[in-house]
Amino acid sequence: STDLAPLNSDTEKDRIDWSQLEAKFGAFPKLPDGTKAGAVSKTLTNEYWRSLGEGYKSLGDRVGVPVVYQAAQSEGDQLGQLTIAEGLVTQGYNVLLVSPQTDSNLQPIMEQAKAANVPVVNVNDAVIPQAEHYVGNVQRDNGVRVAKWFIENRPDGGKVAIVEGQAGVYAAVQRTDGFKTTITEAGKFEVVASVPGNWDRQTSYDAATNVLQQHPDLIGFYANNDGMALGIVEAVKAAGLQDKVAVFGTDGISDAYASIRAGELTGTVDSFPVLTGEVALESALRLVAGQKLPRVVATPQALITKDNADRYSGAGDAVRKALLEDAAAGN
């Protein structure tokens, strides 16, 4: 498998949509006795990653597989995360689910796990090039969806701005690029600013204030995550421009939904972390059971606005159903 091409989760051909798992690979398989799964994510300081863990746990509970879920102490603690992952390998878990801090910081795990004959599933966000299995959404698509909203809903075009996540992080780069490329190609829009927000609410607030001051005729912001988007919303409100400026975030955390319902945040691209967690664990366990899955299992996402927020925020099963409908409809 050393001849595996470096993975690009957004363009990999060997992929399957999550909705097809059951159709193509049958019902959930029987697992060897005592199967247990280890998972390590980026950080628990962000709701997204906690929700992912909930997904692991809920499926794990349902199928009787204990899941240990750990996370680094902070976003950016790359070696700490590696230490955690190495601990999981040595402790004899049957499968690992990892959401690496960066594209490479968990690389040694791939080799150690291979030696220990433990499958590893790369779940979302940063992408390990040698990963044999990836479950997650198409990062670039986040930005594309928001850009499409602008193209459809703001036919006259106008000035838009991007607030980026931490410089150099895969998800931030992809999301930004998807948005920027799509909206620029539409012709009528101008990306007047693409400034760093560092995943931080306060930084984004200040950045948005400055951008608005320079471009009071701005029609929208796209932020690489919801925390930053919520900071931008406050800046837009403080500038008194809430009726003119649309603000979009990414992730679909509960605060974002609340803000959307309150008519403040225009929308977010929800990537359904709980469902993603379930799909990831399901895929991982199918691997344990010996099934040969495609390299990438794509998980759903949807652009949430006030109009459809209720559809995507109900109980787990309802959302699953709605998303399956979306998938069937080819969204």
Binding site: E47, R50, A167, S194, V195, Q202, N210, Q214, E234
Partner: protein, 325 residues
């Protein structure tokens, strides 16, 4: 005789320099240069609205940096300001959301800041540990407490009334700016006019001499850390008022900005030296830079580069003016 006249003549000038030192003038020159550069490059940079923006965006860092300056003068350092602010923010916020009256919730936030500072101070002053390490330890500890308390979630939905307190304007200036200006004035008075200010300078300048002279070393240091904690709490209140939410991860890397502002303003990390005016100017320099670079839509990598270079340049200007001073 000649001698005496000379002394008398020299007095007023010395007095003036004493008040607005050459060192502060150096920082001011730095600020003016940066303003001029951005003014030339960015249309509308000098718009009143933008200048107010700069002040507002500098106010939180200035608030922290004032506390940091006092701690640095006392010969210490406080790396834990960010987590202290976070802890104070989430506790105030959760009380506010639970319907506790504003004054009580704010007071609780301030109390948290004071307690965090007290712990730092006691470990430094009574136990005799190195300030850098103590506050490195409490940096993790306080952050962890804030995360555990909230389970990692932001506290949302702060009452509008509370937000108005820190979000309003007076005479066209944001209240946050006015609050920090008042804090700066108080800090200036403390440093220049009160025994405590003298004690700070003495403890940082020569601890043994201060001890022998009867300066209450431990109490002075503890007070410095408590003020730093209190100002971190104040910064937290201002911020959550502005954002309408309190996050346990708030205040990440604040300590570096605060230290940079104090150092650009002339504080020596060896202790015994520092200036309130300089610190404020230092904070405004950093704020101006961020504002200007954003307005110029400089890409984030280059913003980072500019930040680093500006810090170095400011210190070089400092060095040159000190050389002349």
């Amino acid at each position: 005789m000649t001698d005496v006249t000379e002394h008398t003549a020299a007095r007023p000038r010395a007095e003036f320099l004493h008040r607005f030192s050459l060192r502060d003038a150096g920082t001011l020159i730095g600020l003016v240069v940066i303003l001029a550069v951005f003014g030339a490059l960015v249309p509308g940079f000098f718009a009143e609205r933008n200048l107010i923006n700069i002040l507002q965006q500098s106010s939180i860092n200035a608030c922290l940096a004032l506390g940091m300056t006092l701690v640095i003068i006392s010969g210490g350092i406080d790396l834990s300001v960010g987590p202290t602010a976070a802890l104070s923010a989430v506790i105030s916020a959760s009380m506010l959301v639970a319907g506790v009256p504003f004054p009580l919730a704010i007071a609780a936030g301030f109390a948290i800041g004071l307690v965090c500072g007290l712990l730092n101070g006691v470990l430094v002053a009574y136990v005799g540990l190195q300030p850098f390490i103590v506050t490195l330890g409490t940096l993790s500890t306080y952050r962890a407490l804030a995360l555990i308390y909230t389970g990692g979630n932001p506290v949302l939905g702060l009452p509008a009334g509370f937000r108005a307190i820190f979000n309003g304007s007076l005479f066209g200036l944001p209240l946050a700016v006015i609050i920090v200006a008042v804090v700066a004035l108080i800090a200036w008075i403390i440093l220049k006019k009160t025994p405590f200010g003298e004690y700070l300078l003495a403890v940082g300048g020569n601890e043994e001499a201060a001890y022998i002279a009867g300066v209450p070393i431990a109490r002075t240091k503890i007070a410095a850390y408590m003020i730093s904690g209190l100002l971190a709490a104040l910064a937290a209140q201002i911020l959550i008022g502005r954002l309408g939410a309190a996050e346990p991860i708030l205040g990440n890397l604040w300590e570096l900005d605060a230290i940079a502002a104090a150092a650009i303003g002339g504080a020596s990390l060896m202790g015994g030296k520092g200036s309130v005016v300089g610190t404020i100017l230092g904070a405004v320099i950093l704020g101006t830079m961020r504002n200007g670079l954003t307005l110029m839509n400089v890409q984030s990598f280059y913003q980072l580069l500019a930040t680093g270079l500006i810090i170095l340049a400011a210190m070089l200007i400092d060095r040159v003016t000190r050389g002349r001073g």
